[in-house]
């Protein structure tokens, strides 16, 4: 038994090293084989994965259906956009003649905290709501934030309304701008590569935190609330505090992702934070496997890459076959998306990649106890 155990640890270690190696060379492989445009897409996919993992804490662990999650992404994005761009010079020319240009490393934790605080703010009035009702209120919250961003250009131009904020400072860490090609340890790293590694670090952090929490007393308490809130409270779980904690942690992760998004794209506008985006992130969680980190990553990756795959395959195919575009890839995306969702819900209701316990339960009931 100890030998088998050690072998298991060894195997897991080897798998981890392999995974790390793959992730390290991935940008070079994507860049070399598919081109730089695809690496940019992969970078965006990483942001979506972070979002999905954050929402997974709220929906997957604590079972709180949140349809306004993208609002926290918006909070993070606008946080960075306002504190690292010339924009505020418009509203307060005396105060900030050149706008505000704070360092990314200062804005990031502040944005995470602010988004987390917003999470609590949203959570507090919804504590007594469940399921559909909670979904409706959170949906409203998401829209409120977006509409604020859309309309806060008068009387003081805070957000520049629908035009959004542009000329956002690129992320730079310790004097190293991520928007330029850099040479590190003799390796030439173009900007998209640098952003990939940065996003990888933060996605890794979110995965790490999720994993640790999932297997902890806190994670179990969340799942207890998800399964049966009344029984959970009778077990001595302070459901109010733990729900707020889930909202805050999920929101903070969304805020971090938003900050990275603003720095990477250099431009933000309310359009990026529509209800459809919230639904998309929720679909990533549900489709991948609610409550299962790897499943959620898979869901995020698939749904973030799908529209690009379609754009790159459907258009040329139609051009070659009919000589013109008959179906626009955007509407095809929604169609395929709907079909995929229905199929998954019918045949794999727990998601494409559900967690081990559930799979084991499906395969067999009679297995020796492995708790020892």
């Amino acid at each position: 038994m100890p030998n088998a155990h050690e072998a298991g640890i060894f195997k897991r270690q080897r798998r981890r090293i392999l995974l790390a190696a793959i992730l390290l060379v991935l940008p070079f492989a994507v860049d070399g084989i598919l081109g730089r445009g695809w690496l940019r897409i992969v970078d965006f996919a990483m942001l979506y994965i972070m979002l999905a993992l954050g929402l997974n804490i709220v929906v997957g662990y604590a079972g709180l259906l949140d349809l306004g999650y993208i609002a926290f992404f918006a909070v993070g994005a606008y946080c960075y956009a306002l504190s690292a761009s010339p924009h505020l010079a418009l509203a307060f020319p005396q105060l900030f003649p050149d706008g505000v240009h704070l360092s990314f490393l200062i804005v990031l934790p502040a944005a995470a905290l602010l988004a987390g605080g917003m999470g609590v703010l949203l959570g507090a009035p919804t504590l007594k709501l469940r399921g559909d009702y909670l979904a409706i209120v959170t949906l409203g919250f998401g829209e409120i934030i977006r509409i604020f961003m859309n309309n806060l250009n008068a009387p003081v131009n805070l957000t520049n309304g629908p035009q959004g904020i542009s000329r956002i400072d690129p992320i730079s860490i310790a004097g190293l701008s991520l928007n330029a090609t850099q040479r590190i340890f003799g390796i030439t790293l173009p900007s998209v590569h640098l952003y990939f590694y940065l996003f990888l670090c933060f996605a890794g952090l979110v995965v790490f935190v999720s994993q640790r929490l999932e297997k902890s007393r806190i994670g179990r308490a969340w799942m207890a609330i998800r399964e049966d809130e009344i029984a959970a409270s009778a077990m001595g779980i302070n459901t109010r505090n733990l729900k707020l904690l889930a909202f805050a942690m999920g929101a903070a992760s969304g805020g971090i992702s938003g900050t990275l998004f603003a720095g990477f794209q250099g431009f933000v506008s309310p359009e990026s934070f529509s209800l459809m985006e919230s639904v998309m992130v929720l679909c990533m969680v549900v489709l991948g496997g609610m409550g299962h980190i790897y499943g959620v990553i898979l869901g995020g990756l698939l749904l973030a890459l799908l529209p690009e795959l379609l754009r790159h395959s459907v258009l040329p195919m139609q051009q070659a076959l009919f000589g013109k575009t008959i179906i626009d890839p955007e509407s095809l995306r929604m169609l395929l998306f709907g079909i995929a969702l229905i199929l998954v819900m019918l045949y794999r209701p727990a998601g494409l990649w559900p967690s081990r316990v559930r799979r084991r339960e499906l395969s067999s009931d009679e297995r020796p106890d492995e708790t020892a």
């Binding site: 007393r217 308490a221 207890a224 049966d228 029984a231 779980i237 559930r358 084991r360 009931d365």
Partner: protein
Amino acid sequence: MKLLELSGIGKRFGGLNALTDVSLHIGRGEIYGLIGPNGAGKTTLFNVITGLYQPDSGEFNFNGKRYRAAKPHVLAGAGIARTFQNIRLFANLTALENVMIGRHVRTRSGVMGSIMNSRAMRLEEKACRDKAGELLNLVGLKKPHQTLAKNLSYGEQRRLEIARALAMEPLLLALDEPAAGMNATETENLKELIEGIRNAGITVLLIEHDVKLIMGLCDRVAVLDYGRKIAEGVPDEVRNDPQVISAYLGVDGE
């Protein structure tokens, strides 16, 4: 010495008086039975003392503290654990996880400790897991501890609920019809289990329709009818009480 003392508890649902002026007390180390016809208000009384319902009148004393409108998690922390008449397990979690969640009030690890995987947290986690395993063995769960709660049989689920409640290390264990749906051998095992729990120093409050079980186990019994306590005493006394007989037979059903 009294562990729990109810005074003048009343609870209304609209026009229905589910509980009217109920007063009783339970001594430390007792097995106290609560019986009465369907709809008499037994479960409602459980819900009041576990904080799921706020009483409209009256208050109760538990372990020297007064409570009127306390939150469930506060009462759980104070030492009241319960099972539910219509089983409320965490269905999609394993049996072991269910019991580990019962340890929530007796463990401390927070967010930071969990993320850092601190030594204290690892030790606590291991102790929690071991204790949960022990409790599952104590209640006699034969299935693998990794079985999902929803895949257990009815009797196993009832026992899992008891294990989960025991994990809270309660002073008072409140069991709402634990023998419902059990066969004769299971009920016999349950009886031994409850006796064992009492011998471990835990006070037991028991709702049960199985008269034999109540008579064989309880030190004292209270009878509820239409939300009122109509009798209280040692089992034999209560059994021969004319008011109780009429309540059950519905002779003078008022």
